[in-house]
C-alpha cells in the first residue's frame, strides 16, 4: 500500500507522449545509423574492388596474322607497366572475357574471328601509391601506338564522395536527433515539475529532500527512455527490413548496393544496437531528468 509514489507521473495522460517522442527520435537516429552502416559497407566493397586499379587499352590487330603481333605488343606494354614505380600487377584480360562483354551487341556466335578486339590490361597499384597518369600514357603510347590509360578511380571517387556525404548527413541527423531527445526530456521534466508544483511544495514543506523528489522523475525518465528506445529500434528494424525486401525483390540495379545481404551481414550489429540503443536512451533520459530536477528545485525555497 505504500508503493504508490506521491507524484504518480506515469498516470499523467499528457506524459504518455514522451515515450512516443523518444521513440520517434530513436527511430530517426536508428534509420540514420543503419543508412550510414549500409552505405559504409557498400563503399568499402567498391573500394576493395576498384580503388587502386587502372585499365590500359591497346588497339586490337585485324586478321589471323596479327595475333602474334598483338601478343608482342601486349608483352611490351605489360613489362613497361611493371617497371613503373607504384604499379603492383599488370594482367591482360583474356580475350574470351572481352568477347562475352561484346555479345549483347553482336549476338552470340556472331563474333568474326578477325574482329579487331582491343586488348585490356588490368593494372593494380601498390597500396597508397599515386601514379602520374599523363606521364604513364605518354610512355605507353611511345612503345605501343594507340595505347590508352583509363582511371577507374575518377568515377569511384565521385561515388565515394557521395557516400561520405550521405554518411555525414546521417551523422548530423543522429546528433540533432540526440539533442532533440535531450530537449524533450528536459522539457517533459520541467512540465512535470510545473504540473506538480503544489505536490512538490507540499513534499518540501513536510521535509522531503530534493533527491527524494528527483527520484520519482528519474525513475519515470529511465522508463520512458527505455520504452521509447525499444519502440523506436523495433520500428526502425521493421522499416529497414521492409525496404530490404522491396529492394531485394527487384535486384536494385545500382552497382554493388545489395541491401538485404548487407543487412543480414550486420545482424549481430542489429542485435547489439537493439539492446544498446534503448539502454543509452534510458540512461540519457535519466541523467537529463536528474540534472533538470535538481537545478529547478534549487531555485525554490
Amino acid at each position: 500500500m505504500f508503493h504508490r509514489s506521491e507524484l504518480q507521473l506515469n498516470r499523467d495522460t499528457a506524459r504518455r507522449f514522451i515515450p512516443l517522442m523518444v521513440a520517434a527520435m530513436v527511430y530517426l537516429a536508428t534509420l540514420a545509423l543503419a543508412g550510414a552502416v549500409v552505405v559504409g559497407a557498400t563503399v568499402d566493397r567498391w573500394s576493395e574492388g576498384l580503388r587502386g586499379t587502372l585499365t590500359v587499352q591497346l588497339p586490337g590487330g585485324r586478321g589471323d596474322a596479327s595475333v602474334a603481333e598483338t601478343a608482342a605488343r601486349t608483352d611490351t606494354a605489360v613489362s613497361l607497366l611493371l617497371e613503373t614505380a607504384g604499379i603492383a600487377t599488370a594482367q591482360p584480360v583474356p580475350a574470351s572475357d572481352l568477347e562475352s562483354l561484346l555479345e549483347p551487341w553482336l549476338g552470340k556466335g556472331n563474333l568474326p574471328a578477325d574482329l579487331p578486339v582491343p586488348v585490356l590490361i588490368d593494372v593494380t597499384l601498390d597500396p597508397g601509391a599515386r601514379i602520374d597518369l599523363v606521364a604513364l600514357q605518354r610512355n605507353l603510347a611511345g612503345v605501343v601506338p594507340g595505347a590508352r590509360v583509363s582511371d577507374n578511380g575518377v568515377y569511384l571517387e565521385r561515388l565515394v564522395r557521395l557516400a561520405r556525404s550521405v554518411q555525414l548527413v546521417a551523422g548530423v541527423v543522429m546528433l540533432l536527433v540526440a539533442l532533440a531527445a535531450v530537449a524533450i526530456i528536459v522539457f517533459a521534466t520541467r512540465a512535470g515539475l510545473s504540473m506538480h508544483r503544489e505536490t512538490i511544495e507540499l513534499l518540501h514543506l513536510i521535509g522531503a529532500r530534493d533527491a527524494y523528489i528527483a527520484r520519482q522523475f528519474v525513475t519515470n525518465a529511465l522508463w520512458h527512455g527505455l520504452l521509447g528506445g525499444i519502440i523506436g529500434v523495433v520500428l526502425a528494424a521493421a522499416t529497414v527490413a521492409a525496404l530490404g525486401v522491396i529492394a531485394g525483390e527487384v535486384a536494385l540495379p545500382v552497382a554493388g548496393l545489395r541491401l538485404p545481404e548487407q543487412l543480414s551481414i550486420s545482424l549481430v550489429l542489429w542485435l547489439a544496437g537493439g539492446l544498446l540503443i534503448p539502454v543509452v536512451a534510458g540512461l540519457v533520459a535519466m541523467g537529463t531528468a536528474r540534472l533538470t530536477v535538481m537545478r529547478t528545485l534549487r531555485q525554490v525555497l
Binding site: 500500500m1 505504500f2 498516470r11 511544495e201 518540501h204 514543506l205 513536510i206 521535509g207 522531503a208 527524494y212
Partner: protein
C-alpha cells in the same frame, strides 16, 4: 550580533520561534506584516487571530519555512532561517507539523497514505507506520475512511486528514491554520483537545483561527494581527464557560 548569539546559545526551550522586526511585503504592494517581534517559548500554546486578510497565513508561512521575511530576523529552534543552507531545511521542517488552511492532501493517495507521508519521507518502516496512522485516523473520527481518497471525502473529513498528517510525527512545533473552519463544533473541540495533549508533552502550538468561541473556550494567550501589527492578549483571569451559552439550538 552578540544578542543573537546569546539567544542561540540559550537553546530551544526558551525561544522555539523568535521574530525580530520582521516585515513581509508581496511584490511592490504594502507591507502585510510590519515590525513584528515576539518569541514563543517551547511548550507554549497560542491562538493567532485577526480579520480575513490580516496576514495570519503569511505569519505562519514564515514559521514553516515556506517564505522568507522581506526584512527582519526569524529564528526557529535557535537557528537564523535566513542563512540556512538548502540541505539544512528538511531536518528542520520535519520537526514542524502544519495544518494548511487549504488542506493540501494528495488526491491519488488514500487518507492512510496521506497521513503516513511525513513518516515515510523521514524514512520510517511500513510496519511501524500503519498501526499508528490507523489509530490516529480513528481518533479524528475517520476510522471508516482509512482507504478513501480525498476527492471522495467531505471537506470536514479532508481537514481532519490534514490535521492527522500534521500531528503524526509528534512535531516540536505545531502550526494550524484555521483547523476547524470546516468542522462542526463537537469535532472542533475534540481536535483542540488533541492539540492540548500534544502541547502537554512539549509541543509548541500556534493556531490561527477566526472562531472567537474557540478562543474564549480554551482561554489561551492570543496573538492578534490587525493592520500589520501584532499584539499579545492574555485571557481574562476568570472565564465563564462561554461555549455553553452558544451550544443549545434555538429551534430544537
Amino acid at each position: 550580533m552578540r544578542a543573537n548569539l546569546a539567544v542561540q546559545h540559550s537553546g530551544e526551550r526558551n525561544g522555539v520561534v523568535r521574530f525580530e522586526n520582521v516585515g513581509v511585503r508581496y511584490g511592490s504592494g504594502p507591507e502585510i506584516l510590519r515590525d513584528i517581534s515576539f518569541e514563543l517559548e517551547g511548550g507554549s500554546f497560542h491562538f493567532l487571530t485577526g480579520p480575513s486578510g490580516a496576514g495570519k497565513t503569511s505569519l505562519l508561512k514564515l514559521m514553516y519555512l515556506a517564505q522568507r521575511p522581506t526584512r527582519g530576523l526569524v529564528r526557529l529552534f535557535g537557528r537564523d532561517v535566513t542563512v540556512l543552507k538548502r540541505p539544512e531545511l528538511p531536518p528542520l521542517r520535519r520537526r514542524i507539523g502544519v495544518v494548511f488552511q487549504d488542506f493540501r492532501l494528495i488526491n491519488h493517495l488514500t487518507a492512510l497514505e496521506n497521513v503516513a507521508l511525513p513518516l515515510r519521507i523521514a524514512g520510517a518502516k511500513k510496519e511501524q507506520i500503519e498501526a499508528h496512522v490507523t489509530e490516529l485516523l480513528s481518533w479524528v473520527g475517520l476510522s471508516g475512511q482509512v482507504n478513501a481518497k480525498p476527492p471522495t471525502l467531505s471537506d470536514g473529513e479532508k481537514q481532519r486528514v490534514a490535521i492527522a498528517r500534521a500531528v503524526i510525527g509528534r512535531p516540536s512545533l505545531l502550526l494550524a491554520d484555521e483547523p476547524t473552519g470546516n468542522i462542526d463544533l463537537d469535532q472542533g473541540l475534540r481536535i483542540l483537545r488533541l492539540f492540548e495533549e500534544l502541547n502537554k508533552i512539549g509541543t509548541t502550538v500556534v493556531i490561527a483561527t477566526h472562531d472567537r468561541s474557540l478562543v474564549s473556550t480554551f482561554r489561551r494567550p492570543e496573538l492578534r494581527l490587525q493592520g500589520g501589527d501584532l499584539t499579545l492578549h492574555r485571557p481574562a483571569p476568570t472565564g465563564v464557560d462561554r461555549l455553553r451559552r452558544v451550544d443549545p439550538l434555538p429551534g430544537a
